[in-house]
């Protein structure tokens, strides 16, 4: 699974992207985020406030964290967008 981070979430984690083999136990976006927070203080700090964490699955916004990760090969994690 390719994982991408953007803006201050990227800075807090300290990486732009990773390639990770996810455990089979991680079936949903929420389970994925819960696991991410256990990976170290930087991940916990970056993802501490759920309400400002946005997720894209295969480059499509995902607003429902109960969504399953079947068929997904790219997950992006980022804060609310501020373009324009």
């Amino acid at each position: 699974m390719k994982i991408l981070y953007f803006a201050w979430i990227r800075e807090r984690i300290g990486l732009p992207s990773e390639d990770i083999s996810l455990s089979k136990d991680i079936e949903t976006v929420q389970q994925f985020l819960d696991w991410m927070k256990t990976r170290g203080e930087n991940f916990e700090y970056a993802l501490e406030h759920d309400q400002v964490v946005r997720i894209a699955l295969n480059q499509q916004h995902c607003n429902d964290f109960s969504t399953r990760l079947d068929g997904i090969n790219e997950i992006a994690i980022f804060p609310p967008m501020t373009g324009g």
Partner: protein, 153 residues
């Protein structure tokens, strides 16, 4: 026929006048052209540059999706969306939306819709760099931008 939107995500600057001319030249069916250009503000003279980070593949895909929604919703002749990334100094262009239509309301509404959705749904993030050498916080998303988007529901 539904207009086929053109979307460009690029580091280089654009020329609003040239883009307007290209979209309208030789066209006799267009009665209205609406253009919106978003510029970088200097925030009272303290900003050195605005840094725009983007999620490359998704930014183009999202802008295309938003532009296609606008073309389905209003009878537009043309719709162009250009969004820049990278470091942009005050006074320079960030974003351009041009919509053309037979009658004005479609062009006004189509361009406005694209900007409102772009602000909240296109994966770009702004970070401020100041003249005193300090780096500001990442620009925070505003509730009023969510409200501006939701008015189109």
């Amino acid at each position: 026929m539904t207009a086929k939107p053109v979307v460009r995500v690029q580091a280089q600057d654009f020329d609003t006048a040239k883009e307007l001319e290209a979209m309208t030249k030789g066209q006799t069916n267009i009665g209205a052209v609406v253009s919106f250009t978003g510029l970088c503000r200097d925030e009272g003279g303290v900003l050195e540059t605005l840094e725009l980070e983007h999620y490359a593949g998704m930014a183009t895909a999202q802008l295309n999706d938003i532009a296609q929604q606008a073309c389905k919703r209003w009878p537009l002749e043309h719709l162009l969306v250009i969004h820049r990334y990278g470091k942009i100094p005050p006074g320079k262009n960030i974003v351009l939306v041009i919509a053309t239509s037979s009658h004005r309301q479609a062009a006004f509404d189509g361009a406005s819709f694209v900007m409102d959705f772009l602000k909240t749904n296109a994966p770009f993030w702004k970070k401020e760099h100041f003249k005193d050498g300090s780096t500001g916080q990442w620009v925070e998303a505003k509730d009023k931008d969510d409200k501006a988007r939701d008015r189109w529901d």
